[in-house]
Symmetry: D2
Subunit: 183 residues, 4 copies
């Protein structure tokens, strides 16, 4: 199973002393309910956690946006960029590809705009709120339209259901960051 | 504290029924050792987990690479793209910016190559191993050189220390994916 | 001299029958004023002309924007993405790099937003005007702010002078495309 | 006609004193053969010339690659990035989209790799030949495979014929730049 295999990889990496990965949780430390391992796997899906927050915490200048909304927005943008690339590609592999053209187009646009927005927000030295504002506004709209279209296909394409979710998370994270911008 | 604030946000999002976030763990379910909450925070750093694995699990075609190394590589590429953008920017804010020029240049190059590699690997419909191979080879070299340079500054710039780690993780994840490519 | 060397390359490529390059102009065909060769070199700077227009002219669907403003906008976005990357890099090599930090940050943001905007406009199958609108608005603002900052350094850094020009061209081309969007 | 309209735009821009555009050529300055205007339109296709060369000529440091191959490579990478995005999109609008999936996938990959390569080569402050080398190698292979696939569709899709040409130009320009790298 992928999760387990990958988890072993994280555990192994940790034993080798790589920082940035959690210590392997003791499964015996929980009583009833989901175990810590189960919680962790449910939360992480077996993947690698992004490091945006760790780097931002060490930034030499005062951040231009509150760190909570900022990190959430950056993580969401890079995640959504990947999801939309993957969803557009999965659409291409579906037997009903002719009905997925609009979804593919919106996913590609959303992915590109998420990359640029995630990078703009990642730059906190000489942060210019006006640039961040228009980037976030573009990203909110791109995520909204892409999320709407993916949702229309959520019943028959599971990747569209997940991608719609990711778009909603990113739309919300960008809206939160927009509110947190200095006026 | 950032982590806590962000964790509350995740918890709140979950209460609103958003899928893709874990249920808030009961702090009472652990005895001794770190609590589940502590484990989760340590693992996640308060950020949003990427969804690469979830989408790939629903892909309509057979994946061209084993899912474990594939997901790790995609996650690592997008994470490293973000970290290198953030580290290059943090370098710009340091008082000794003149000594950081090579680090900045290597971070920018690494970030761009990570984006293109992460996207190439994300496309599994009509996966062409030859393209993946050269993309991965480029990414391994970019991460290696960027990691080496960041490491040189790890003692005096914490963001460089973290970025070096992220580069090492990405270099390794790309090497694992390269080994997993069909010949 | 670069121009001449590169021009010879174009001429040579043409002799090899590559389409997409002009025939070498006869220098003897002009009287007085600049020769055709001089005009061509002045116009092209010795570079390769983009092919956006040629491909768009063969697009299977009706374009969502009038082709004139569309091509100009796409060409300008990709040109500005390159210029801003190059200008940010040249800034790093200047002795007064500490005074160029804001310029570098704005150039990087402008470059990323130009790439995403140029790609969004390049996609004319299932063109969604709302996405194009927000992308163009973001690009106009990013180019405006980057152009303003580069202009401040135009007197002492020639690359900033040129980059400011390219930003102005792109800002205008995006504004023209915005006006040409269907309402 | 697009070319004419756009040409008027260039002329108009020039009258407004924007630098970077050629002076409007006097049609009367040529005798026989194509007029300078015809030559210019044939060469430019009505588009905007990239400014890579102009900015590189003002770079504060010694370039790491001979300027001729460097400019040709950068221009070709950005041009190919745009063409591949546009061709992948045009493929989506074709009635035989199911037969174009491999072309779409290769175009997307080529576009992403061209962007990262064009940017890596654009950075000449602290130029690191090893990074440029692997980026160029990846780009050569991506362009070769994408060009081969587009060529297979050149008979029935004009955008594929043009995109194949652009890929060949970029493949060659990257090979020339690779040869020009310091060893």
């Amino acid at each position: 199973m992928v999760v387990t295999r990958h988890w072993r990889r994280i555990v192994k990496a940790d034993r080798e002393g790589r920082r940035g990965f959690a210590s392997p949780p003791s499964v015996a430390t929980t009583i009833g309910g989901p175990t810590a391992l189960e919680l962790l796997e449910r939360l992480t899906g077996g993947g690698i956690m992004p490091h945006a927050q760790q780097i931002l915490e060490t930034h030499p200048r005062t951040l231009g946006v509150a760190p909570g909304p900022l990190v959430a927005c950056i993580d969401a943008c890079f995640d959504c960029a990947q999801s939309c690339t993957a969803c557009a590609d999965a659409d291409l592999g579906e037997p009903d590809v002719e009905t997925m053209i609009r979804c593919i187009a919106l996913c590609h646009n959303c992915s590109d705009i998420c990359i640029s927005t995630g990078r703009v927000l990642s730059r906190q030295t000489e942060f210019v709120p006006q640039v961040a504002r228009v980037a976030l506004q573009a990203c909110i709209e791109a995520c909204r339209l892409c999320g709407d279209e993916c949702e229309r296909h959520a019943q028959h394409h599971e990747h569209c259901r997940i991608c719609a979710e990711v778009c909603r998370i990113c739309e919300q994270a960008c809206a939160d960051a927009l509110k947190a911008l200095p006026t």
